[in-house]
């Protein structure tokens, strides 16, 4: 049985079908990429997978349990974590607090322990600090733990979003355009990182991107969306040869993807 099962997912905004009949079945540890031109509905799929939008029809099952109707924070608590296309950090908080904030629902500190800062609460905080710092260290951010998130350079902000998502200890990680706005030399670094996340942490990853040459080498499977419809699905070579995909990317898109 598959791990994440998405069937016939559709959403309408005022009569416009932004995503039509999206199907996806994921095995644990798979790395799937969703590609497609701007406005194809990729982020909308993510927004449905994290509960920010309620689908008009269709189903989302994680380990056989339906997630429909849950609130975004419940999706996160069930183990689906995400990053955002336009970075959404807690900009006025420190780097380490950004990470610790993603631990809120797991924290066992009670309200009265917190108000009176009991030794038990202080101990838990210290453990949490360590945990967060270890994670930050793996991504080379531990040294900046006390900076405000908004003062980090752009690339570090993107990494911090990933660290924050990992703090949720997710089963599935959704990466929304992790290389948006980065120069080509950085693409390989990020690609290595994404692969490492899957190989070493055993994460299941769904990746949105329109840089084809970024996703081709790392994705197990690729789904191509255009105008909300799935126009192709398969391994990298199949996708590259697919005439529909070429058509969708034609007129600069394909050239840009190879740039």
């Amino acid at each position: 049985m598959s791990f994440l099962e998405i069937k016939n997912l559709s959403i309408e905004f005022g009569g416009l079908r932004a995503v039509d009949d999206f199907n996806l079945s994921l095995k644990q540890g798979e790395l799937i990429a969703i590609i497609g031109p701007n406005g194809a509905g990729k982020t909308t799929v993510f927004n449905m997978l994290t509960g920010l939008y309620a689908p008009t029809s269709g189903s989302i099952d994680l380990n056989g349990e339906s997630l429909l109707g849950l609130k975004p924070f419940q999706f996160a608590q069930k183990g689906i974590a995400r990053t955002f296309q336009n970075i959404r950090l807690f900009a006025d908080s420190t780097v380490i607090d950004n990470v610790k904030m993603a631990y809120t629902h797991k924290s066992r500190e009670t309200f009265f322990q917190c108000l009176f800062r009991t030794p038990e609460m202080v101990r838990q905080e210290r453990e949490l600090d360590e945990h967060a710092l270890k994670l930050l260290e793996r991504f080379g951010l531990a040294g900046q733990a006390d900076l405000l998130a908004k003062n980090l350079p752009y690339g570090a902000q993107r990494r911090l979003e990933i660290v924050r998502a990992l703090m949720l200890d997710p089963k599935i990680l959704l990466l929304d355009e992790p290389v948006a706005g980065m120069v080509t030399t950085e693409l390989d670094d990020i690609a290595t990182m994404v692969k490492k996340l899957r190989d070493e942490l055993g994460l299941t990853i769904i990746l949105i991107e329109h840089h084809m040459n970024f996703v081709m080498p790392i994705a197990d499977r690729i789904k191509v969306l255009n105008f909300g419809q799935t126009i192709a699905e398969g391994e990298a070579e199949e996708i590259q040869r697919n005439p529909d995909v070429i058509a969708a990317y034609l007129g600069g898109g394909y050239v840009y993807a190879n740039a």
Binding site: F90, S93, M101, E125, F139, P153, A156, T192, K196
Partner: protein, 345 residues
């Protein structure tokens, strides 16, 4: 040992401050009126800290905070005056009755905060603001209707239990609790909501729950402050707690700086004491609010973060850096990051 000293020192400072003021009073440098101004300043500090928790740390927008204060004031006064008969209660029972009254005032305010918070905190920004304003006015209109507590005439004969020591005690307790709240998972959740509600939601933070917790916590503090206020004035009237009072607290908060307890103390203290001090130079009551208004607008235009702008005095924050520096960096100083370092553009 050092850590304990660092913890105790500010408290010793407060005690020293108390004795200094009492000494100044005994040698007649300060009179009862000066002390009373300081007591009002203390109540205002509590109110501003309370408002800061909602507006500054959680990023919500409450503009009817005097409503909670009035609930606390009336709740406490009903206990001390109507139930226990004011000064008729036995001498040795006065302090317990007073504390019970304050507690009841805080609970009433907190409970109403819960009732109003559950349905309304889904509303965003402007709408929440107007609902809290409406809430404050509804409370005022309702209090004006209830005959047993004096309706619009107000309630008189409340024993003046609050003295300077009590105010100082409650201000210190409020600051400690507020600080502990902020530097805990609750405070972090609130900050996350303030910084980016969608991201907070997506990171597993139950935003409505934490908004309500911060709202109720703040309402509780405001209720206690209201109780203290009633027992300074020995008289409460619904119209005292109008929108004008709520906007006073907004000014204290935003002038001092949101998201900073130091700012709340400074804002409330300076803006309470200053007009009284200026009174020595002639009657400025008419110009007081004009000056406030100008200060507020100028601060918003040129220093939108307020005087303190997110900065905090050392004893009002919990410095994690010192906590984890030796624990973590001591051990792991030389390890290299496992994930590839990204070249920054």
């Amino acid at each position: 040992m050092k850590a304990i000293i660092r913890k105790i020192l500010p408290l010793l400072g407060v005690v020293a401050l108390y004795f200094l003021l009492m000494y100044l009073k005994s040698i007649k440098v300060m009179n009862a009126y000066h002390i009373q101004v300081l007591m009002f300043a203390g109540v205002n500090i509590m109110m501003t800290v309370s408002l800061n928790i909602v507006n500054g740390f959680t990023g919500q927008f409450c503009i009817g905070h005097a409503g909670f204060m009035s609930l606390g004031a009336y709740g406490a006064s009903i206990v001390t005056t109507l139930i226990f008969g004011g000064y008729h209660v036995a001498e040795n029972l006065r302090i317990p009755v007073f504390l019970l009254g304050l507690l009841v005032g805080g609970i009433v305010a907190g409970f109403v905060g819960l009732l109003i918070g559950i349905p309304t905190l889904k509303l965003k920004g402007d709408y929440l603001a107007i609902v809290t304003l409406a809430f404050g006015e509804i409370v005022r209109a309702t209090l004006r209707l209830i005959e047993p507590i004096g309706a619009a005439r107000g309630m008189i004969g409340i024993p003046a239990y609050t003295n300077f020591a009590w105010v100082l005690f409650f201000v210190v307790v409020t600051l400690i609790l507020a600080r502990n709240f902020i530097y805990s998972r609750y405070g972090r959740a609130c900050l996350a909501i303030r910084d980016n509600e969608i991201a907070a939601d997506s990171m597993g933070v139950n935003t409505s729950k934490y908004k309500i917790i911060s709202f109720v916590f703040a309402a509780f503090i405001a209720g206690i402050a209201g109780g203290l206020y009633a027992h300074i004035m020995s008289f409460v009237q619904p119209d005292t707690f109008s929108f004008v009072k709520s906007s006073d607290y907004l000014v204290y908060l935003y002038a001092g700086g949101t998201g900073s307890l130091t700012g709340s103390i400074l804002g409330a203290l300076v803006l309470t004491v200053l007009p009284e001090a200026l009174r020595a130079f002639g009657n400025l009551t008419n110009w007081r609010i004009v000056i406030y208004a100008v200060i507020l607008v100028v601060i918003m235009l040129y220093r939108p973060l307020g005087i303190c702008g997110g900065k905090e005095l050392p004893f009002l924050k919990i410095n994690r850096k010192s906590l984890y520096e030796k624990n973590f960096f001591g051990r792991n100083k030389d390890r290299k990051p496992e994930m590839p370092e990204l070249s920054e553009r």
